[in-house]
């Protein structure tokens, strides 16, 4: 299989405060630079990371971000996973809609972050919290 995703490197960051969000963002930025993402692609994935890491802290009650350097069919990319053990998102469909918010924000975080990356996956349950995975592939 040439389209299997291989993980070359992984690093995890705790997400409990706004300073943790900053550290997580820097981690993604540094790796994006290391693999030579364009400035624009790097800016996009770092911005998406900032939105999702903040969600983990603010709505998920804290959690973890794991950053992976991945490869598929010889192409490099950054995969970032956000996990929390919060109450979950009861209506994911609505949460993915622009302008929908329950947290007093502007409601652009999730749908906005999805537009900034190539792959976006979200699962959420009341028992297991929320898990969001994004990938930005190198062009």
């Amino acid at each position: 299989m040439t389209d299997a995703v291989l993980v070359d490197k992984q690093a995890c960051f705790p997400l409990g405060s706004d300073l943790d969000v900053l550290a997580a963002r820097r981690g993604v930025r540094d790796w994006a630079r290391d693999i030579g993402l364009t400035t624009l692609d790097s800016t996009k994935v770092v911005t998406a990371t900032s939105e999702l890491a903040r969600n983990t802290v603010v709505h998920g009650g804290g959690g973890m971000m794991c950053l992976e350097l991945v490869r598929r069919a010889g192409r490099q990319g950054l995969r970032v996973k956000f996990n929390d053990h919060g109450p979950g998102i009861p209506e994911i469909g609505r949460a993915m809609t622009d302008g929908y918010t329950t947290g007093g924000g502007m409601g652009i975080g999730l749908p906005g972050a999805r537009r900034l990356v190539n792959d976006f996956e979200i699962t959420s349950t009341a028992a297991g919290g929320t898990c969001v995975t994004i990938v930005r592939w190198k062009v």
């Binding site: 969000v21 800016t43 900032s50 924000g105 906005g112």
Partner: protein, 113 residues
């Protein structure tokens, strides 16, 4: 014409810092007879929804206190990313650099008479 506050952000912003900056600016505008704020974000690598909201709030608070805010120096990649994120920064004046930002403020002041 009163004074212009030039605020250059040279550190990575995190949420509490953004809130602190917004509050400090409001106090500074009121204390120093300021009628314009130039917020230089040329060193910012990203602007996310929280920082964007901070800038919009600062502009709104400043307007109530009699100062116009101009955000200057946004990196092109940051601008593209902001639009894709869905943040339009309506109500915020922007300029490419500090010089153009000053010109914008002066024109606005002249128009007001």
């Amino acid at each position: 014409m009163g004074t212009c506050l030039l605020v250059t952000i040279q550190v990575d912003m995190y949420d509490q810092l953004a809130i602190t900056l917004q509050n400090d600016l409001a106090r500074a505008i009121a204390a120093q007879d300021t009628n314009c704020v130039l917020l230089d974000i040329s060193a910012l690598e990203i602007v996310d929804s929280f920082i964007g909201r901070m800038m919009a709030n600062t502009a709104a608070i400043g307007r109530i206190l009699g100062a116009e805010t101009v955000v200057v120096g946004m990196q092109p990649a940051v601008a593209i990313t902001l639009v894709e994120l869905g943040l339009s920064l309506r109500g915020i004046h922007t300029a490419l650099d500090v010089e153009r930002g000053m010109a914008l403020v002066e024109r606005a002041a002249a128009a007001r008479g």
